[in-house]
Subunit: 209 residues, 2 copies
């Protein structure tokens, strides 16, 4: 993919988000980046796991399954890149309490097919879009090796966003737009409202009372 | 990896199996190969999923996690290769009832750590060893494009076997050998005793009564 096409998909990804990431989150994230790398590694692992889960749920959709397998491989390669960056920076492993984002976004999906498939694809599209937006905001503020890595990841997330959105459009041509709007509202609240833990997809930390 | 090293790891893999695959299974498999491809695609997907599950269970073991991520990527690439072969051969999707092999092998594992980790690694080593043995038996009997694919997969499974076994040895230097013997007995029974369904890891079909 050319640099221009990649930039386009990142811009398109950002354009479906219903609210931009608050500047307070960006400042907190840049200050705490070493700690956020741990969460970032988890996000890449979870993105691979989500793609694989879709492969098990919809095995009859061979085109989707093949595309998801490639997405999962790319997310795993990102995981390895982030873990190697953690090794280089001397960041030790620690178990982290999950944030609210993925769980509460998942709670907004329909539970039965055919609606569930469309919602799962749109959820993944939104997560990729938010990831691309945040890599673009934080990457240039980080030291050179991480800045380069994040530029690469941003472009990949933009591509994954377009892929998930394309499959959602095909699965429900008459419906995806309304569902995207509804889920994007929820996503925007989760990514912008004050949050109790700082995570890659969280809102900004709420002030201590 | 050189051809010689790859052959070595396949031979070592086969040498830990407690019983060779029965000739009856090989004959049935060669006759029914198009149907078995479907099961084979599932096996690659499940192998990726098993590696990913280990990554989630033991995130503190960074060396293991990195190695498993690469294994999962390779299994996913195999999945894509097998699905493309199915497309070429015009094999339609069908849901398949799972065989007894994985479920009953998993039933023999210890349920609590530290024993469970060793058992999970040894189970994966055994499955990779059986896969390598069967690819070597069936591959040369299949048409050229599949025969080439299976030669490549056989070598990968041999490497994965060595990798899983190496991590099991490191995790429990004093214990792995006894556990391997116990689990290999179970595995050999599952792969050789007459079975109700023909699968990539099944025993030969039992004669109809």
């Amino acid at each position: 993919m050319s640099g221009l096409a990649s930039l386009d998909s990142v811009q398109t990804a950002a354009s479906i988000l219903r609210a931009p990431t608050p500047p307070a989150w960006v400042e907190q994230a840049v200050r705490s980046w070493p700690q956020l790398l741990l969460d970032h590694a988890n996000c890449e692992k979870k993105a691979a796991s989500t793609a694989l889960a879709l492969m098990f749920t919809y095995p009859e959709d061979r085109a989707l399954t093949l595309a998801l397998s490639r997405v999962a491989r790319e997310e795993l390669r990102h995981f390895e890149q982030v873990v190697r960056a953690m090794n280089t920076l001397g960041i030790a492993f620690a178990r982290q309490r999950p944030g609210r984002y993925a769980q509460q976004l998942r709670g907004a999906l329909r539970s039965a097919d055919p609606g569930r498939k469309v919602d799962l694809l749109l959820m993944s599209a939104l997560i990729e879009a938010r990831s691309a937006e945040r890599f673009a905001l934080v990457g240039p503020r980080l030291p050179a090796p991480l800045a380069r890595l994040y530029a690469e990841l941003m472009s990949a997330e933009g591509r994954h966003f377009a892929l998930y959105l394309g499959f959602a459009c095909s699965a429900a041509p008459g419906e995806w737009r309304a569902r995207l709007t509804a889920l994007a509202e929820r996503e925007a609240w989760l990514a912008t409202a004050p949050d109790r833990t700082l995570r890659f997809h969280s809102g900004p930390l709420q002030p201590e009372s």
